[in-house]
């Protein structure tokens, strides 16, 4: 799925730029020159959308894996007698 995407308020999603990204293994990479006059280049590779947020243009939207169902064996409670 490419292009503009809208995230459902109930669905978590990961975003990654579709073009112009120098791929690294890190989630966020920031390069800062020692000289204060040099340009600062920020690379944001992944962003997790919060409920209600809309993905910006030119990103790939990936559905987050569904959480593994949690099986509660027993619930402790105040007894019936």
């Amino acid at each position: 799925m490419t292009g503009i995407a809208t995230a459902s308020a109930l669905i978590s999603a990961f975003l990654s730029p579709s073009v112009g990204v120098n791929a690294t293994s890190t989630t966020t990479s920031t390069t800062v020159s020692a000289a204060p006059t040099d340009a600062v280049r920020h690379i944001v590779r992944y962003v997790q959308l919060q409920p209600g947020q809309t993905a910006p243009p030119n990103v790939i939207v990936k559905q987050a894996p569904a959480p593994k169902p949690r099986v509660v064996i027993v619930t402790t409670k105040q007894s019936g007698r």
């Binding site: 509660v72 619930t75 402790t76 105040q78 007894s79 019936g80 007698r81």
Partner: protein, 335 residues
């Protein structure tokens, strides 16, 4: 005579092959439900787990029939009716009374199985809309004056005239622990005695357990994910006990005053407490049950001191101010 089991009639093989791989069986008992949950060993015959679950439920039913105060034919009721001051009892009742005596020491006397008359007075006063309770001093003195002479088969109970026993506050956890001892061959086993839960998990096993929210039906306050331990010390044998007590289920509002079923042995009346519900996680279900009830009776400050003094694996306390206190030992288990 063992009563008919209210068991799920699906074939065991179907349940074991399910997504969870856990076999569960339950029956209506002790005013609630008792459940057995097993993970059979890999490659084992599912019929073995099925048979073990049924056997354990029948044993719990038989033990409960001896210990209940709600039937006239139980051994406990016969003891309570007997006018004698020295009465012979069988091994199951003797063991339960022995545990009650131990629980009294564990909780500095807050657990007191000699308070049946105080509890009945609270219930009857509630029904009649009268002040509840008997003399606290009389109740405490009477309950501390009984003794148990263990014999090869059972014991002799020695007590003052008229002293009657109530195992409701300590019996379910004790039954759960006793039943769990019969399920050693399974890698994971749980006996749920209507909310008082005995648990054993082999190393590598991890099961989740909910803590019911007393304010919302079918909601959990928290979920504890317990894991089997390595057995490097006697304390790390993979056994846990989980129990919850509180004042929000058995309570009566009378003229603006709230009474409930948990009797404070220091007053002989329903405990005046700022706690709505307590859950305790420790090594056995019987200790968890006794401690949870004691903390409710004592209130937040003294109750928390008791938990610190005894040492527990976790505790969650809810107050009547809607505060939630989580004992630090709980944090490692929170899912």
């Amino acid at each position: 005579m063992a009563r008919a089991l209210d068991l799920d009639d699906r074939p065991a093989t179907e349940q074991v092959a399910g997504a969870s791989g856990i076999l569960s069986r339950s029956m209506a008992l002790m005013g609630g439900h008792v459940g057995v949950h097993l993970r059979p060993a890999a490659g084992s015959d599912a019929r073995v787990a099925e048979a073990d679950a049924g056997t354990v439920l029948r044993r719990i039913s038989a033990w409960a029939d001896r210990l209940t105060r709600f039937t006239e034919t139980s051994e406990l009721s016969r003891l309570n009716r007997d006018p004698g001051t020295a009465v012979a009892v069988g091994p199951t009742l003797a063991a339960a009374l022995d545990w009650g005596r131990y629980a009294e020491g564990l909780t500095d006397g807050i657990v007191d199985i000699g308070l049946l008359d105080a509890r009945l007075a609270a219930e009857e006063a509630s029904a009649a809309n009268e002040p509840n309770g008997v003399s606290g001093t009389a109740a405490s003195l009477a309950s501390r004056s009984w003794s148990l002479d263990r014999r090869a088969h059972g014991a002799i109970v020695r007590r003052p005239v008229g002293l009657r026993f109530d195992l409701d506050g300590i019996g379910k956890g004790w039954l759960a622990d006793r039943a769990l001892d019969r399920l050693d061959r399974h890698p994971a086993a749980v006996v749920d005695a209507d909310g008082d839960v005995a648990i054993r998990l082999d190393p590598g096993m991890a099961w989740s357990f909910g803590i019911a929210d007393p304010r919302l039906e079918a909601h959990d306050l928290a979920v504890l994910r317990l894991t089997g331990r390595d057995g490097g010390s006697p304390r790390d044998d993979g056994r846990f006990g989980l129990a919850t007590s509180g004042t929000s289920v058995h309570r009566w509002d009378r003229d603006g005053a709230v009474t409930h079923h948990l009797i404070d042995p220091r007053t002989g009346r329903s405990a005046k407490t700022d706690i709505v519900q307590v859950t305790v996680l420790t090594r056995t279900a019987r200790e968890a049950e006794a401690l949870a009830k004691s903390v409710v009776i004592l209130g937040v400050v003294a109750g928390y001191e008791l938990l610190e003094r005894v040492g527990v694996d976790g505790a969650v306390l809810m107050t009547d101010r809607d505060e939630l206190f989580i004992h630090p030992a709980t944090l490692r288990w929170l899912a």
